[in-house]
């Protein structure tokens, strides 16, 4: 099984992705994560204006089976929330890298990006996990 992992995205060991456009960062979970979660039935996200901190939980995604925390790849302030996910949590399974995005934040400091991994390293991580 191969996963679409855009080369210009950043990734966390907790299977979030971060797409950086200057100081605006879009955050979601990876294809690998959605597969592990199973069918998502409920998503709890922060509100606009709320602060998120790198490595800390900013929300929860729940499958029928279990609740899993979502961890912020970088610190910042939430500027947009994918409210469509509340109505249709299944789109997180269908298209986690695009329509299934979670939140958009204004990043505090791009220095934090150094704590994230890029596609080749992330791919290696999940390959080892699957083996």
């Amino acid at each position: 099984m191969s996963y679409a992992l855009p080369e210009d995205f950043y990734y966390t060991k907790d299977h979030e992705w971060a797409q950086v456009d200057e100081n605006i960062v879009t955050i979601g979970v990876t294809e690998f994560a959605q597969e592990q979660l199973g069918e998502v039935v409920y998503v709890e996200l922060p509100e606009e204006g709320q602060k998120v901190n790198q490595g800390e939980s900013f929300g929860v995604v729940e499958s029928v089976k279990a609740a899993s925390d979502l961890y912020a790849p970088v610190s910042g302030t939430v500027i947009e929330v994918n409210t469509a996910l509340m109505e249709d949590p299944g789109s997180l399974n269908d298209d986690p890298m695009n329509d299934g995005w979670l939140i958009r934040i204004e990043m505090d400091s791009e220095k934090e990006l150094a704590n994230l991994v890029r596609a080749p390293e992330y791919r290696k991580m999940i390959t080892e996990k699957k083996a």
């Binding site: 039935v41 709890e44 729940e62 089976k65």
Partner: protein
């Protein structure tokens, strides 16, 4: 993957069917195949196959078998005729529960087959030996595979594959049939709330029986079902799962299992302690709850009254795949256990309103009326 995980003989069959495999109770088991919701729906509407070969089978034989089982279990084993199946409990020395189980009477007073939880199998066997009253007790778990066939079309499928006589069996009985020359024990029991059977099949015939059931049930819409849907199906039916609703500190009456405790009929291990809890008035009860707002109750979440007093705890919770409602099983202080009573569930710091609702949570095949 941990080296010491046990596998059932169906492991490679599951993998070939595309199952996602996980560790469960020391076993490497399929959690889902095509998807939990599809599998859950297949059992409610048609028929599903479950590999439950990890369950433990313990044989109790000999002239002291009945006396031993009467002492070890809470239900009245003397009531059983050959071919009867009985749900029961193993109490521990403190009045809690070692396990829940099924007792299959092969020959009254002489031969019984017990089916116990996979996670407790070794513990149960040791416990039985410790309190044995002279029976011949053997752990037959290695010998048996087990396949559960559950859903409105389960009896039709089993009849096709094993014998038309399966259709005439009544609930909570068992009967032995031949499959490829081997004896298989078919019990009209299950853990889904739907009609169906659980089949004890010798290990060497398990793969063949599984494949035959899938093949012959194709037109009935049969699907293999993983542990994920097994859990949501039993939760909708409000069946207890050891380690969640019941454990070594549970009282049978509080757990709503008083119907399998027969203190008037016989003596059994910890009888006085178990009955004393009931006679003192139950402090808590196991109830079904439904959230009245967004969120999903999960095991361990705390229930609080509107005065912010802690009144209970969730033991199992999920989004019901059948109804879409957020449902949970919970122990709650007796004064909050009435149908319709409302309180809050603490969901990660947020208070969500919940209500005590009738169970089973959804209309299931075995619903009364």
């Amino acid at each position: 993957m941990a080296e010491n995980l046990k596998s059932t003989v169906l492991r490679s069959t599951h993998e070939a069917l595309g199952a996602r495999m996980v560790e469960f109770a020391g076993w490497f088991m399929p959690v889902q195949y095509e998807g939990l919701k599809e599998e859950h729906a297949a059992v409610r509407a048609d028929v599903g196959l479950f590999d439950v070969s990890h369950m433990g089978e313990i044989r109790v034989r000999g002239p002291k078998s009945l006396e031993t089982l009467q002492w070890l279990t809470t239900n009245d084993v003397s009531k059983l005729k050959a071919g009867d199946a009985q749900y029961s409990l193993f109490p521990n020395e403190q009045g809690g529960l070692v396990d829940d189980l099924f007792v299959y009477c092969m020959k009254p007073g002489e031969d019984y087959l017990l089916c116990v939880n996979a996670s407790n199998s070794d513990k149960d066997f040791a416990h039985m030996l410790k309190h044995n009253r002279g029976a011949d007790i053997t752990n037959e778990s290695e010998r048996w595979g087990q396949i559960a066939i559950q859903g409105p079309k389960a009896i039709e499928l089993t009849s096709r594959v094993l014998s038309p006589e399966v259709a005439a069996m009544v609930r909570s009985t068992h009967k032995t049939f031949k499959f490829e020359g081997a004896d298989v024990i078919v019990a009209r029991t299950g853990y889904t709330g739907e009609d169906g059977v659980e089949v004890f099949v010798p290990t060497e015939k398990t793969v063949s029986l599984w494949n035959t059931l899938l093949e012959k049930g194709r037109d009935l819409g049969v699907k293999p079902i993983g542990l994920g849907a097994r859990d949501t199906l039993r939760t909708e039916a409000k069946y207890s799962l050891y380690g969640h609703e019941i454990d070594d500190s549970s009282n049978a009456y509080e757990a709503g299992l008083g119907w399998v405790v027969k203190p008037a009929a016989k003596d059994f291990l910890s009888k006085a302690k178990i009955v004393a809890v009931k006679e003192a008035g139950l402090k808590r009860k196991l109830v079904g709850i439904q959230l009245q707002e967004r969120g999903i109750p999960r095991e361990g979440y705390v229930l609080t009254s509107f005065d912010n007093e802690e009144i209970g705890r969730i033991t199992s919770g999920t989004m019901s795949p059948t109804s879409g409602a957020s449902i949970g099983i919970a122990y709650v202080a007796t004064r909050f256990a009435e149908l319709g009573t409302e309180f809050n569930v603490d969901i990660r710091g947020r208070k969500a309103r919940a209500k005590v609702v009738p169970t089973p949570f959804v209309k299931i095949g075995l619903s009364k009326g």
